[in-house]
Symmetry: C2
Subunit: 248 residues, 2 copies
């Protein structure tokens, strides 16, 4: 047998979740170096098998928009799980983890009840990745001095004995990001740096984009891309409550 | 003249504060690798000259406890500024930065007004660095499921033409840290890791300690040890408002 990839790093705390994951095959269905780094910080070192799922779900199919990143995460995790089982039936993963992060607008509530009753109800909108610097600047002008909400959906897939042979569990974590009232020259300089291109919402909170942010109410790492503290608490709960979890 | 240390890194945004700092002698009066890293993220790369100030101010001298870390930061910055001016009068620093981070308890307010009026008013207390694992465990048991407040005082010293030849400016930034209701085995495992020893409050939010935290309301980097976003906004303001700032 080939040498096993070590999923649990020496500095991981000896708590139930890591004791249980020791020697198991853990896979992260994401190419994001940030997600891997966050998990590494806490001592989890999954194999990286990026999903080939196209992330093409239609937002309109989700009356509850928080289910949208969770569904994308689920599709990614299931695709990777099924592919790995097919490739190596004797070496099926014990746990596949996938995540998807979206940024939502937070419409400012009207300042009077009268206005409220006359206006159509406003729903949060998904802020996509800006394709151009012009897009990025417009997006940041809209966010400036305002809040947005960052939601990461996380799904895991693990084997069970009954059909279809695997179980899916999910969580979502939500964080509020408050932008400062930034001068336009700062927004322009940020956009020019190119960091915001290809980032949901047009900014990277862990990079130069941090200069634009007054505060976060929530888990900083969730805004970066993975809600690690909630995730490990969630695994601990599954160990307590689900007999088959990591025991097959 | 010897090669000058470059205080502004190539990836710094071309905004007033960095344009002005370019070619200037900037000194960080702190040995903390974390503070240096945070500043580096935003493109500031100060010389490191740790202060020899003993950090022995008496908390009891501060009716307003938020002035305590600010005063410690001021003492550090002034000590380094004066020492460097004395050592090399022709190469005085243009800017010395110092910071001090403290962790405060957040007493839960009583649940009834009657109780409130009968009880002595409770003030926040400074949580010191635990000296032993037993201390660390007791501290985390107290914090578990509760909030604490992390305050970083930042002071800068820069030359002016009038006596005493330098100016001091300060800010403080406050963030609320909410601990999860962690099981005792997690607290024990964390304390055993040794990470919390010698950290104010007994935890490191950027390390394994993140597992204990439900959320932060504020600037994550402030909790790590330096409120960079506020700091650079503060320097931008000084450039606008103080004629002598970085111009002597």
């Amino acid at each position: 047998m080939s040498k096993k990839h070590d999923s649990v790093l020496p500095h991981a705390l000896p708590i139930p979740v890591f004791n249980k994951l020791f020697g198991k095959r853990v896979v992260l269905a994401s190419a994001s170096p940030r997600r891997k780094e966050i998990l590494n910080t806490y001592g989890l070192n999954p194999e990286i098998v990026p999903s080939t799922f196209e992330e093409n779900l239609s937002k309109d199919d989700f009356p509850n928009i928080y289910e949208y990143p969770v569904s994308t995460a689920t599709e990614k995790a299931v695709e990777v799980y099924e592919r790995l089982v097919q490739e190596q039936p004797d070496n099926a993963p014990d746990l596949v983890i996938a995540a998807d992060t979206i940024v939502l607008t937070r419409p400012t509530p009207p300042t009077s009840d009268v206005a409220h009753s006359l206006l159509p109800h406003t729903y949060p909108e998904v802020l996509e990745k800006p394709g151009t610097k012009e897009d990025n600047y417009r997006m940041l002008l809209d966010l400036n001095g305002q809040q947005c909400e960052v939601v990461t959906g996380v799904s895991i897939v693990y084997p069970i004995l009954t059909a279809p042979g695997f179980q899916i569990k999910s969580l979502d974590e939500r964080s509020i990001v408050q932008f400062s009232d930034n001068p336009k020259h700062l927004l322009e300089a940020y956009v020019d740096s190119g960091e915001g291109i290809d980032r949901a919402g047009g900014f990277a909170v862990q990079g130069l984009g941090g200069l634009l942010i007054a505060k976060i109410d929530g888990d900083f790492w969730n805004v970066v891309g993975f809600p690690a503290a909630s995730f490990f608490k969630f695994l601990d709960l599954l160990i307590e409550e689900e007999e088959e979890f990591l025991d097959i």
